[in-house]
Amino acid sequence: MSKWIEIGTLSDIPRQGSRIVAGPDGNIAVIRTEDDHLFAVHDRCPHKHGPLSQGIVFGHKVACPLHNWSIDLSSGQAQAPDEGQVACYPVKLENDKILLSMEKSR
């Protein structure tokens, strides 16, 4: 059973934007895409550990601000030809409230 934690409301995060949640293993980037999907990933690019929360969000992807790696938000995988995986966390919306689980899905 996932333990869902309420972390805020949808309006706290702008479209194509993100906010961080400080967690025990470092920050988690909670990202809202243009089409209002929510994603949560470890805020640490697999390349050189850049904060993904600070990147430009496009489609269901985010570009790392340090060296422009593109990370697919649903799989956590770096886009080819780069290779790498960032941890993903389950996140969902219930009545405008954002719920996050700390159990990594990948």
């Binding site: 972390i7 400080a22 904060p51 600070q54 496009f58 570009a63």
Partner: protein, 814 residues
């Protein structure tokens, strides 16, 4: 039910089209491919390397059978399509089977021209086209001694070189009196010949073949003048001819090749064609880059997207013939209306010739030193007016100064361990291996896989040279007007003019009206569009923070550890004890790990956590300081020297002029960063001659310099003009900045922009045409009336903006 796509031809053009199609519309078609050869798809370009023994066949395969299976493609190898029935939309194969299609793609390539000499069908007479030919040549080389190659063009010389490497005694027979006459002029051709002769290759030039001798097998070649040359192998490499047999048979319109329109559609609306078999706007291409361009366009139409257009290619050949670098492009012969400029150093084996018409490059031949080929080619395609740089044109782009790869500029001589890309630490060997292992053909692909040339770009020429030497005779730089990014086919200029013409005022409306391929763009186009809209609609466009790079959103420079650096503005580089005290207090209060003086005469506070930024700004704001924009594609700094106020050599008040300039220009957004400096005398202590806009005061007035920069490619400024008053300096600066803001491409600094449009053009707009200058300056000042606010203060006082700097919440252990 899926539509049926049949592809006739399993070569590079056909399969590239299929690959592109799978990217765009993976499930649209049931695809069936017919290939005449018994293999999967291989890289024909690398056959020369197989012949010379440097590669094995399995190393040049692009797609093996597993790839076809994986993508659900039915592959018929050794399968000859003998007929197309356009009425019933079927193709028939040699073994009598029939296959129906909805769409048909012809990629039948070309056939080698075989001279109809007596004896041309003897065993031992081969062409140089496919794996079978290469096998035959290698087998012959193991048994026999003498080889003759008919044809002294690219392919012929590569074949000759390969056979020589296989241990054969090779004579090249050529009808013309100079080698590679389609790519080289007489001088370069002679240098090439001398070099090849020194390696042991023999030549019979101006030689017409009469008959191939032998009864059971070729034994020699007899020329018209009676000379007989012994040959156990005879290679015909006299050219290729588009393969139009199928088209001719089904009365599909063809001339030299199968005629296609700009969407690669033939005269039959169900039949497309790509590659060496087609003729587009009167031209048939035999190089790989145009074919790939055609493949991209064709895939776009097969996927029913319908917006790509092939407009033909200007090709350049930048190739390596047996260890010799040769580059050729355009019309390198010239006529009465052109002039040549020539650099000839036979002792060093270097020769360069440029053909100019009205100051524009029409063609180029480079021999020995080809590193500037890409640069000349770019200027040729852009129609750049070279008269301002004519005196140094032949010395190359590196004449402007270069760094990052140790001045290395000859790919052939480099060791595999030599570093090519200083930014990303990529060695020559890494690039070569990636090209061969991953079958890369374009600069963009090499950038994506190796990162070479993907950061600062100063090694681009070198990387292209390595690609040329690795891929051999068929590599050529793609000729397309670069689209803004992969989300669109439109160029920067086309997008900018559409913004004004179609009254586009937000990014989403722009993307909709201009048929963007992605929902909401990518990290390349969004910042560019945001800038273009901001520049086009001052005071009206609402800046989209989500389309800005983090530095411009957090008003600081992100550092490798995710912290930020903070630089307050110091007008003209002048500060006060109070400001310094406030900075020191901030440094103490926030435990700033490092305080550093920058190159632009500012103080930089490093290592500040994002959540601390608003508080840091608040303290600096309270001491009267504002954002220094050290992070933006914007006006950065105006650097000054002591000037006449203090300096015993000073001729003008450089400090005050610098402050005035900075007060006028701060806050403006520009295509790339923009730096200024004012020096009070020609000693130029403010280093104004490596700035985007530099002022050097002289006793009688002010020299205005433009388009310089330090950094990757140090470039000294060009002198724009001389003016007499400070008011003129301000007006010229405003006009120049506005011209740059309106006409340069996003992320193009002033130096490459001025090199692209030419100094004369800028002088025309700013110096000669007074009205133009005044209007530009007015537009600049108008735009500034909306731009000059402190983003730090804005963030501190706006709760929404400030919230973004804080974590949303904290969570404990799972």
């Amino acid at each position: 039910m899926k539509q049926k796509l049949i592809v006739v031809g399993n070569g590079m053009a056909g399969m590239r089209t299929v690959e592109e199609l799978l990217e765009l519309a993976p499930d649209m078609y049931d695809i069936t491919v017919f290939g005449a050869e018994p293999h999967g798809n291989y890289n024909r370009i690398l056959l020369s390397l197989v012949l010379s023994g440097e590669k094995r066949i399995d190393e040049i395969m692009i797609n093996d059978r597993a790839w076809y299976d994986e993508h659900g493609i039915t592959l018929h190898t050794d399968a000859k399509v003998t007929q197309i029935e356009r009425g019933t939309k079927r193709v028939l194969t040699r073994d009598g089977r029939a296959f129906e299609y909805d769409r048909l793609l012809l990629a039948t390539g070309s056939d080698p021209v075989m001279l109809p000499l007596p004896g041309h069908d003897l065993p031992g007479v081969v062409s140089f086209r496919d794996i079978q030919d290469v096998d035959a040549m290698i087998k012959a080389a193991n048994t026999y001694k003498n080889a003759v190659v008919i044809g002294g063009g690219l392919l012929g010389l590569e074949a000759a070189n390969g056979l020589m490497k296989q241990g054969m005694d090779v004579t090249v027979v050529h009808l013309m009196d100079t080698l590679m006459e389609r790519q080289l002029d007489v001088t370069a051709g002679a240098m090439l010949r001398a070099n090849l002769e020194s390696r042991g290759m023999k030549f019979a030039l101006s030689a017409q073949s009469e008959a191939i001798m032998g009864t059971d097998r070729v034994t020699g070649l007899r020329l018209k003048d009676g000379t007989e040359i012994p040959a156990d192998v005879l290679v015909m490499a006299v050219g290729i001819r588009p393969n139009v047999a199928l088209a001719a048979d089904c009365r599909l319109h063809f001339e030299r090749g199968i005629v296609v329109d700009d969407s690669m559609l033939t005269f039959d609306p169900s039949i497309y064609a790509v590659g060496e078999c087609v003729q587009h706007r009167g031209t048939a291409y035999g190089l790989v880059a145009p074919l790939f361009e055609q493949a991209r366009v064709c895939a776009n139409h097969l996927a029913q997207l319908g917006y790509a257009a092939y407009k033909g290619s200007v090709t350049s050949t930048k190739l390596k013939v047996t260890g010799i670098d040769v580059f050729s492009a355009g019309d390198f012969v010239g006529d009465d209306s052109t002039e040549d400029i020539v650099f000839n150093d036979p002792g060093n084996g270097a020769y360069k010739k440029l053909v100019l018409k009205d100051g524009q490059i029409q063609g180029a031949v480079l021999y020995g030193d080809t590193v500037d080929g890409a640069w000349y080619f770019q200027m040729m395609r852009d129609g750049t007016d070279t008269k301002d740089i004519r005196s140094s044109l032949l010395f190359g782009q590196s004449h402007l100064g270069d760094s990052g790869h140790g001045g290395e500029n000859a790919a052939a001589a480099m060791a595999d361990s030599a570093e090519v890309c200083g930014c990303n630490g990529v060695c020559k060997g890494d690039v070569v291996n990636a090209i061969l292992d991953k079958n890369l053909f374009t600069l963009d692909e090499v950038r994506a896989h190796t990162k070479a040339s993907s950061s600062c770009g100063s090694c681009t020429g070198l990387v292209e040279q390595i690609m040329a030497s690795t891929l051999g005779g068929d590599y050529s730089a793609t000729d397309k007007e670069k689209p803004l990014c992969a989300c669109t086919e439109l160029t920067h200029e086309e997008v900018r003019s559409a913004i004004v013409r179609e009254d586009l005022k937000t990014i989403p409306t722009l993307m909709t009206s201009l048929n963007w391929k992605t929902e909401d763009g990518c990290p390349s186009c969004r910042p560019a569009l945001n800038y273009y809209l901001l520049c086009a609609w001052p005071g009206e466009y609402v800046d989209d923070a989500r389309s800005r790079f983090i530095n411009e959103r957090a008003h600081g420079n992100i550092q490798k550890d995710g912290t930020y650096s903070v630089v307050p503005r110091m007008w003209g580089g002048v500060t006060t004890p109070n400001e310094l005290r406030a900075i020191a207090d901030v440094a103490d209060k926030f435990k700033v790990p490092m305080v550093k003086v920058t190159g632009g005469q500012r103080v930089d506070l490093f290592g500040i956590a994002k959540s601390d930024l608003p508080a840091v700004w608040e303290d600096l704001n309270n001491a009267g300081m504002v954002s220094g924009h050290a992070y933006g594609k914007s006006l950065r700094t105006v650097k000054t020297c002591a000037g006449e106020q203090w300096c015993r050599f000073g001729t003008q008040d450089s400090i005050q002029l610098g402050i005035d300039l900075e007060k006028m220009t701060w806050g403006s957004w520009t295509p790339h960063k923009f730096k200024m400096a004012v020096s009070g005398c020609p000693r130029n202590c403010a280093e104004a001659t490596i700035k985007d806009f530099g002022v050097v005061a002289v006793d009688s007035g002010y020299e205005l310099h433009i388009a310089g920069n330090g950094g990757i490619k140090v470039r000294v400024t060009d002198l724009l003009c001389k003016v007499e008053t400070e008011a003129q300096v301000m007006e010229f600066a405003g006009a120049f900045m506005q011209l740059y803001r309106e006409e340069a491409r996003y992320l193009e600094r002033t130096a490459p922009w001025v090199e692209r449009v030419s100094l004369s053009y800028v002088q025309e707009k700013i110096v000669i045409d007074e009205d133009s200058r005044k209007i530009l300056n007015e537009r600049f000042l108008h735009s500034q009336s909306f731009a000059q606010f402190d983003p730090w203060k804005d963030c501190c006082t706006d709760a929404d903006k400030r919230a973004e700097f804080e974590p949303l919440t904290e969570v404990g252990q799972a």
